[in-house]
Amino acid sequence: MSELLSTELSTGGIVDVAPAGSKKPPAGRSPGQLAWRRFRRDKAGIISGSVVLFFFLVGLGAPVISWLYGKDPDTHYGADRPGLLSDTGIPLKPNGGIDGEFWFGLEPKLGRDVLMQLVYGIRTSLLIALVVVAIVTALGTVIGIAAGYLGGKADYFIGRLIDVLLAIPSTLFYLAFMPVALALFIAPGKEAPVWLRSLSLVLVLSVFGWTRIARLLRGQVLSLREREFVEAARVSGASSRRIILKELLPNLLTPILVVATLDVPAMVTTEAALSYLGVGMVEPTPDWGRMIHDGGDYLTTDITYLTFPGIALIIFVVAFNLLGDSVRDALDPKSHR
C-alpha cells in the first residue's frame, strides 16, 4: 500500500527507459534513489548543497582551521601588540587590517582575529541550531502525528497548547527569563558557565520551535488517515503503532525533511538575533550574531569588519533556503509547481 503512494510521488520523469537495443534490463530504484537522482540533476541544488556543506565543514572543523592557521579566537592580538590598532581601537591598515598575518583583519578595540572569530562564531551558531532542530523535529513529529491520528480530545488540547505557545512572544520571554533563571543556578559572584547559557538557549528555542512542524504534520496526518491504504491496514487488524510507524511515517518523511532543512537557517538567524540583542551567547564565546551587532557600530570607520560575518550569513541563509527548495523538489516534484 505504501509502495503505491511512493510511485504516485515518483512519476516525475524517472522512467528509466532503456534505449532500443541495450542489453541491461531497466533496474528498479527505490524512492530514495530516485529522489537522489533528481537532486543530482538540479544545478542550483548541487551548488547550494556544496556551499552548505562547506559551512558545516568550517564550523565543525574550527579547531583544525585554528591549528593550521596558527591563531585562536581569544587572543587579543591587536591590543597586546602596539602598532596594529590606532589609539581609538581601529585597525591601522586599510580594509580592517587585512594582511598576510591576519587574513580577514582585526577586530576593533580588542584586536582579535576576525577569521577565527567568524569560524568559531559559525561553529557556535551552527551547533546550537543543529541541536535545536534535532529536538524540535523529534518533538514536533511525535506531537503532530499524535494530534492528527488520535483526534478528539488529544487533538483539541494539543491544538490549544500550540496556540498558547504561538501567542507568547518568545524573544521577550527569553529577554525576561534568562537573567532570572541564571540567577537561580549561579552562586553570586561567579560567572555563568558557557554550557548553562547554551543549555537554556537550546531549551527556550526548542520550547517555542516545535509548533511549526507539529501543525504541519497534524494536517498531513489528518489527510492521510482517511486514505484507502490506512483504512485497509486498520481493517486488516494493524495496531495503531504499526500504522503510524509503517504506513504514515514513511509518507511524512518528505515534509519532515523539508521543514527540518528550512528550520536550520531559521534557527541560526534566531540565535544570531538573540545574541544581537544581547541575550544569546555572551562574551567571550564567539558568536555570529554578536559579530554583526558589533560591526554595526563601525559602519563609518571600519565597515570591513561587518562585511565578513554579514556576507557569510547572507550566503549561508540563501544557500540553505535554495537547498531546502531543491530537497523538496527532489522528494516531491509535484508539490508546488
Partner: protein, 584 residues
C-alpha cells in the same frame, strides 16, 4: 542561466567592494587638551558678579536650539537635584546665591543672586550674603532674603533632602540633620541661630564649625529661593519657581521640555547668563550613537541641535575627530572626574595581592575600548587634577606601573605572596562597550596569574549594586567628580572608613583610623591652598595601601550642531547653555 550568474556574481562583487575601508589613524599629541589643573577662583569682592554678562564674539539673537539627551530630568525641584545634566538645566532656569562663570578658560565663582561670593569675618563660621537689586521671579514678584532662608529650611525636610546635604549637615552639625530640625512643615521656622534674614536683602548663615567652602556649597540647588506662600511642595518637582533668562513653557515627561524667554529677567543683574536664543526645545530619548550621527550630519533642524551631556560615541571617534567638517563642532574638555577601579578591601585583604592587581592591570588595553586617549589620560592619583591643590606625586612601585600591565612581575608578586591563582570577581557594566572593557581587563589579569570571574551587572542598577556593602565583588569601576573643586567633597566621602554603608560612595570599604583622623584634621583647615596641599598628602598616604587602581582622568567630547555658536563646557562637564546662540 547566464543572466542569473551575472546577477549573482555582480551582487557578491558589490558587497565585497562595499566592504573596503580605509585604515584607522592615531591621535596626534597636538590634539590632547592639557589635564586641567584646578584654576577656580572665588570672587570675594564682587567685581566679577556685576551684570550684564560679557558679550560673546559673533553672537546674534533669535532661533530655537534643540538639546538632545537620552533621558528626562530625574527632578525639577532644585532642592532635589544631584546629577550633572539636571544641574545644568536647573542653573539656567533658577538662580541661586552663587554660581560659576567661565571666562577665557578660567572658572570664577561669582555672586548670582548675591552681590559677591559671600563675606566672612570670623574665619568661616558666619557668612553674610547681600542680595542684588532688581532681582525678580518669572512672575514678576521680587526675590527677598526670607525666600532664601525658607528654601534652606525646606531642604531639611526628609521629603526634599535627596539633593546635596552639605549646607544642612554643616548647619545642624550632624549628618542626621532632619532629626535636628524637621523642616518648616513640622518644625516651624528655622531658628535665627542658624540662618537669619534680618532684612529683605541680607542672608546670614551661622555654622557651629568654620566652613570655608560655603561659597561653593551656596552654588548648589539648596539656596534657590522659594517664597513660602508659593511652596507647592511636590508640585515644585514639575513646576519649579524660576528666575533665570528662560522659563518652562511645556513639559512632556520623558519626551520633551520647551523653554521660552522670561521677560522678567534683568540682564543687568546677571553676570553669567545670556538670552540670545528665543528658546530651547529639549528632546529626550536619543542614545549617544544617534546623537553623534545626527550632529555630524547636521541635516535639517539638527544643525540647530546640540548634545547636552552625551559624549561622542567611542566607535565614531576615529571618523569624527579626523573629519575637518565635523571637528570644529566638537568641544574636547578635561573633566573634574577621576575614574578608578575600586578593590573591595574587605575581601582582598592582602596588600601584596592588591599591589599585584595594580601592577597587572592593563590600563592601555582597557582604555582603548573606551576611545583611547580621548577617554582621558592615565591617572596615578585618586583625586582629579581639577581639585584645588592637586600635585602629582611619586610612589615607587605604585605610581610608576606600566600602563600596559606587567603580567610577569605581577605573577612573581603573587607567587611570593603564595596567592597564585587568586580568584577575582570583576563586576562590569553589561553594555557592549562594558563587555569589551571587562574582557580586556580579565585578559590582562589572567595573564598575571589571577583567576577572573566576569560578573555582568545591569546598567540601570550598576551604581546601586556596586555600592552595596555585600556586593560579592572584588574589582569594579568607580568614578567621582567633586561637587565643587576642592578635596572637601572627595576624600571625606570616598575614603572615610566611618562612612561605609549601602548606597554610600566608599565602595572600596577602605577603613584606616589614621586616615579618618587625618580627614577630620584637614577639614578644619581654613586656608583653601593649605587644605588642598594637605589633601594631596592624604591622597598619597591612602594610595600606599592601594584601595583602588587609578585609571583615567576623564575627558569628554561634546558636540554641537553645525549652526551653533558659543559652545563651551561648564563645571559639571555639561554643555554650557548660558552662551549658546544660532549662527545664521
Amino acid at each position: 542561466m547566464k543572466p542569473k550568474i551575472i546577477l549573482g556574481v555582480s551582487t557578491v562583487v558589490m558587497l565585497v567592494v562595499a566592504g573596503c575601508s580605509a585604515g584607522g589613524q592615531n591621535t596626534s599629541s597636538a590634539d590632547a587638551p592639557k589635564a586641567e589643573v584646578s584654576n577656580v577662583s572665588v570672587d570675594k569682592d564682587g567685581s566679577q558678579s556685576k551684570g550684564p554678562a560679557a558679550e560673546i564674539a559673533g553672537a546674534r539673537k533669535g532661533g530655537i536650539i534643540t538639546p538632545l539627551w537620552r533621558q528626562d530630568q530625574t527632578h525639577y525641584d532644585p532642592a532635589q537635584i544631584q546629577t550633572s545634566p539636571d544641574g545644568t538645566i536647573s542653573e539656567l532656569l533658577e538662580r541661586r546665591l552663587t554660581m560659576y562663570k567661565n571666562v577665557d578658560g578660567k572658572t570664577v565663582l561669582v555672586g548670582d543672586l548675591a552681590t559677591n561670593a559671600g563675606e566672612t569675618t570670623d574665619g568661616g563660621k558666619t557668612w553674610k550674603f547681600t542680595l542684588k537689586d532688581g532681582i525678580k521671579y518669572a512672575d514678576g514678584s521680587p526675590i527677598v532674603a526670607a525666600d532664601v532662608k525658607y528654601a534652606v529650611a525646606r531642604s531639611f525636610s526628609t521629603k526634599y533632602s535627596r539633593g546635596f546635604p552639605y549646607i544642612q549637615t554643616w548647619l545642624a552639625g550632624t549628618e542626621e540633620f532632619s532629626k535636628f530640625y524637621p523642616g518648616p512643615y513640622e518644625g516651624g521656622e528655622l531658628s535665627n541661630d542658624k540662618v537669619e534674614a534680618p532684612d529683605a536683602k541680607t542672608v546670614i548663615f551661622k555654622f557651629p564649625e568654620p566652613r570655608t567652602d560655603l561659597p561653593f556649597a551656596a552654588a548648589l540647588g539648596t539656596t534657590v529661593p522659594v517664597p513660602q506662600a508659593k511652596d507647592t511642595k511636590e508640585g515644585l518637582d514639575q513646576n519649579p519657581i524660576t528666575s533665570g533668562p528662560y522659563k518652562i513653557a511645556s513639559h512632556e515627561v520623558d519626551k520633551s521640555l520647551t523653554l521660552v524667554k522670561n521677560d522678567q529677567w534683568d540682564p543687568n543683574t546677571d553676570s553669567i547668563r545670556h538670552q540670545y536664543v528665543d528658546g530651547f526645545t529639549f528632546q529626550f530619548g536619543p542614545q549617544i550613537a544617534e546623537v553623534t550621527d545626527r550632529l555630524s550630519a547636521s541635516a535639517g533642524n539638527d544643525k540647530n541641535s546640540t548634545s547636552l551631556y552625551a559624549a561622542v560615541a567611542p566607535e565614531r571617534l576615529d571618523q569624527v575627530m579626523n573629519d575637518p567638517k565635523v571637528k570644529p563642532q566638537i568641544l574636547d574638555q578635561a573633566t573634574s572626574a577621576s575614574e578608578v577601579y575600586s578593590i573591595n578591601t574587605q575581601r582582598i585583604t592582602d596588600l601584596k595581592v592588591r599591589k599585584a592587581l595594580l601592577v597587572a592591570f592593563p590600563k592601555e588595553q582597557a582604555r582603548k575600548t573606551k576611545g583611547g586617549p580621548y577617554a582621558g589620560d592615565f591617572s596615578t592619583t585618586l583625586g582629579s587634577p581639577a581639585n584645588a591643590g592637586w600635585k602629582k606625586y611619586d610612589l615607587p612601585g605604585i605610581t610608576d606601573v606600566n600602563p600596559m600591565g606587567d603580567p610577569e612581575k605581577a605573577k612573581q608578586m603573587l607567587t611570593e605572596a603564595g596567592k597564585l591563582g587568586q580568584s577575582i570577581s570583576l563586576g562590569y557594566n553589561q553594555t557592549p562597550a562594558g563587555e569589551k572593557e571587562g574582557l580586556a581587563i580579565a585578559d590582562g589579569l589572567e595573564k598575571a596569574g589571577f583567576k577572573v570571574e566576569k560578573i555582568p551587572m545591569q546598567p540601570k542598577t550598576f551604581n546601586d549594586s556596586r555600592d552595596t556593602v555585600n556586593n560579592n565583588l572584588d574589582l569594579y569601576w568607580s568614578s567621582w567628580a567633586a561637587d565643587w573643586p576642592t578635596g572637601v567633597t572627595v576624600y571625606p566621602e570616598i575614603y572615610d572608613g566611618r562612612k561605609i554603608g549601602d548606597g554610600r560612595p566608599n565602595n572600596s570599604h577602605f577603613n584606616d583610623p589614621a586616615v579618618n583622623a587625618e580627614i577630620d584634621r584637614i577639614l578644619k583647615i581654613t586656608d583653601i591652598t593649605e587644605q588642598g596641599a594637605e589633601f594631596m598628602k592624604l591622597d598619597q598616604k591612602i594610595m600606599e595601601q592601594v584601595p583602588a587602581i587609578p585609571y583615567i582622568y576623564t575627558r569628554r567630547q561634546l558636540m554641537t550642531g553645525a549652526n551653533i555658536g558659543g559652545g563651551s563646557v561648564d563645571t559639571h562637564t555639561v554643555m554650557n547653555l548660558n552662551n549658546l546662540f544660532i549662527k545664521s
